[in-house]
């Protein structure tokens, strides 16, 4: 059904609006001092007449006139959730609150709105109102409720995050290593040498928040096996590996970022365990891996297809929130390799790859794959990757 709209004003700005609005039914124009009974063949009414008309949207193409805005805000008869302030000649500058998105998205044709939304969408993506609530389970509805109370969505929308947001982080500087570090569970975690204190503090907040026991990204692998080999693939701080270090005999960390590699080595050198920081998983000399955690943001399913056949992996956790199809694709690859899969509890919110007008939903954080202790018959020959070289660092 076409939206029934009222438009405030009959001047040039209204004419501009009329050029861009598409399928709708204009019921009337509103003028404080109407100079004629009709405008473009449609009745012109005074503001007092608004209350007598059933409408879906009151479009106000005037955004720098505080008197009109005040009139609308003060008039109890005008439902505020039906009012859209809009300036077409200056869409970028003013008047379009993200909470009006749903009202207006059916009103203005895509070619105009898409252009506008591409500019403003980054902010709108963090408004709880952008989520379509139909077909959501109770947990996701609860997450929205929590985000609405707070006013915005974030990566983790759980009450437990509050304590991390308001925490004062004790980040120390190691004068000898010339790096900032944080202490967690009595262990030091170093940050890249070029990082400032503020950068380290903000990063650390997010990192340990993700490892809270209530987090959708908290590990489920602790204590499932003792000893053996662990591999973590990450471009950042390998918190998972250090968390696991008491349960394994040897750790490989795949991290190709030079600054992070230096910080990782500094973090691990006091742990008294055998560890390697390598550029690529093909540098790992093991055949069997007991636990693996993969944090790969691009083409993760393709990556898994390439590497799963080269090692015998018993337990694997894979981040699947970066792209909306990652969950399905990763599960498919893991199951094809004999893993039994399940999703981690809870949800994260990660709308980075979403385009305007696409549906936005929460996502699962991790897919966990486990399989039985037996030799993988699919395992490929070492010849496949022996030429890639081994550049690990054992300290």
């Amino acid at each position: 059904m076409k939206k029934r709209i009222l438009i405030w004003g009959t001047g040039n700005r209204t004419k501009d609006v009329l050029k861009v609005i598409g399928a709708c039914e204009i019921l009337a124009f509103v003028e404080t001092k109407p100079s004629s009974a009709q405008f473009q063949g449609i009745v012109v009414i005074p503001p007092e007449g608004i209350k007598d008309i059933e409408f879906d949207i009151l479009l106000v193409p005037i955004v720098d006139n505080c008197q009109i805005e005040k009139y609308i805000n003060d008039d109890a008869c005008i439902k505020k959730d039906k009012v859209v302030f809009l300036s077409v000649d200056n869409l970028l500058e003013t008047g379009f609150y993200y909470n009006q998105y749903k009202l207006i998205r059916d009103l203005i044709p895509l070619e105009y709105l898409r252009q506008y939304l591409s500019w403003n969408f980054e902010f709108m993506k963090y408004s709880p109102q952008i989520l379509v609530k139909e077909h959501m389970d109770e947990e996701r509805k609860h997450l929205i409720l929590y985000a609405e109370q707070r006013g915005y969505l974030q990566f983790l929308n759980y009450e437990f995050t509050e304590k991390y947001v308001h925490c004062k982080y004790d980040i120390q500087y190691d004068g000898q290593k010339k790096m900032y570090y944080a202490v967690w569970k009595e262990r030091k975690f170093f940050f890249p040498r070029s990082w400032k204190l503020k950068q380290a503090a903000c990063y650390w907040r997010d990192a340990i928040m993700c490892y809270d026991e209530k987090s959708p990204l908290a590990t489920s692998m602790q204590n499932i096996t003792q000893g053996g080999i662990a591999v973590e693939i990450t471009q950042e701080m390998p918190l998972w590996s250090i968390n696991e270090i008491d349960n394994v005999a040897c750790v490989y960390i795949v991290n190709s970022d030079k600054e992070w590699a230096e910080a990782i080595k500094a973090s691990f050198e006091d742990q008294g365990k055998e560890f390697y920081v390598i550029n690529s998983l093909s540098e790992c000399k093991e055949e069997r891996i007991d636990k693996m955690r993969c944090d790969i943001s691009e083409n993760v399913a393709q990556w898994l297809s390439t590497y799963l056949g080269k090692f015998f992996i018993l337990n694997i956790e894979v981040y699947v929130y970066y792209k909306k199809d990652d969950l399905k694709e990763v599960q498919g690859v893991l199951e094809s390799k004999g893993f039994q899969c399940r999703e981690s509890d809870g949800y994260v919110y990660y709308p980075q790859d979403v385009k305007p007008f696409e549906k936005i939903d929460f996502r699962k954080g991790i897919v966990i794959g486990t399989r039985q202790e037996e030799k993988n018959t699919d395992m490929e020959s070492e010849d496949v990757y022996k030429n890639e070289g081994v550049g690990g660092c054992q300290l």
């Binding site: 955004v63 720098d64 006139n65 505080c66 805005e69 200056n90 970028l92 500058e93 003013t94 008047g95 379009f96 609150y97 993200y98 500019w119 403003n120 980054e122 902010f123 963090y126 707070r150 006013g151 915005y152 974030q154 990566f155 947001v165 308001h166 925490c167 004062k168 982080y169 980040i171 400032k196 204190l197 503020k198 950068q199 503090a201 903000c202 907040r205 980075q352």
Partner: protein
Amino acid sequence: MYIINGVAGVYEERESKKYRYKKLHNLITCHNIGCKNVLFVSKNKYDMAERYRVDHIFNVIDLLDEWNGFSIELANVLSIDQFWSYIDLVVLERTGFTCQLKEFITRAHKHNIPVIYEVDDLVYNVKYLDAIMEGTGTGLDRYDFWIKILESQYNTAVLCDGYWTTNLFLSQRLANDFKKQSWVLPNFANPQQIMVSETYLEQKLNEKAYCDDFVLGYFSGSSSHNNDFMEIAHEIYILMRRYPNIYLKIVGFLDLPSEFEIFESDNRIIRRPFMDCCSLQKEIAEVDVNLVPLVVNEFTNCKSEIKYFEAALVGTISCMSPTYVYKNIDEKGYLGKICEKGKWLSVLEDLYVNRHNLKNGFKQLHEEALADYAYYNQAENLKMILDEMESIEI
């Protein structure tokens, strides 16, 4: 001219780093470790002025221990209400007046937070309309358009507690017009511009990149610069008639006079579309001389030195009209040519005749540009400015 191989993907990488919104919590975390927060409000994140005056400034803020930066678009200003107690300073980046903005400024003042109006053009007061019309070459049909913009900007500016701009000439006008303090931070190059420029300069220093055609470059911001080029058009015409291996490269918008049709048909006019800042560096690197003609008046005296340092970074010499900032560059003894009106032909001809010597100045141009216009050389100045702004009495 020089044949330069472009560096791909740099601009996109910069774009992906723009998603600062999701880190609202950084305001709290930074506040808790004693770091101050400055909130930038801009029209939209893809505005050209926003790039130089917000994005690039963030590159410098990243280098500061004492300050953290956060940016938000004008349309969303009222949505940060719960974070006031973590904000120390607000900067409005050339934002026109809206009711929401007025309310936003009121709320900032209630929390005792100074609000600074940032502008890098003389576009905030109707009294400068004539200079703007002359400087931009705008016709009478655009009077209403400009008046609306100037009134809107003025209505915002007058509510603010201090002013921030790119050169002393404009800064003095702001301070006089509003009787409040004003600060200067020049426009400067960001890490990506510097990185690609160094790659291009290296290629230019290699003989293989050189070919003997002589290319003049005109890198236009918008169609409002038509008047600027007209200042020198006839002299360029004479020069190109005189030397058949002189070409004119135009990046962006420019309507050439009809006398240039002869060069168009000879393929001596090279046109390129408006482009991102990193691709632009490649185009500038390829030309022999960067043309920066301006109608010299109060409006253009307020312009910044972007065109000079973008060219100098890639070792390209600039010929510039004697506006306030370009005269300063000349007075500092930096490499470049100041051309008074009517003197362009002789200066350009001299550069053409001695074109094989231009290479000797590549490194000097690059180093002078870095000294004054590299982002990492702005940190001390920016910290001082932010500290002073934060401490002003409202």
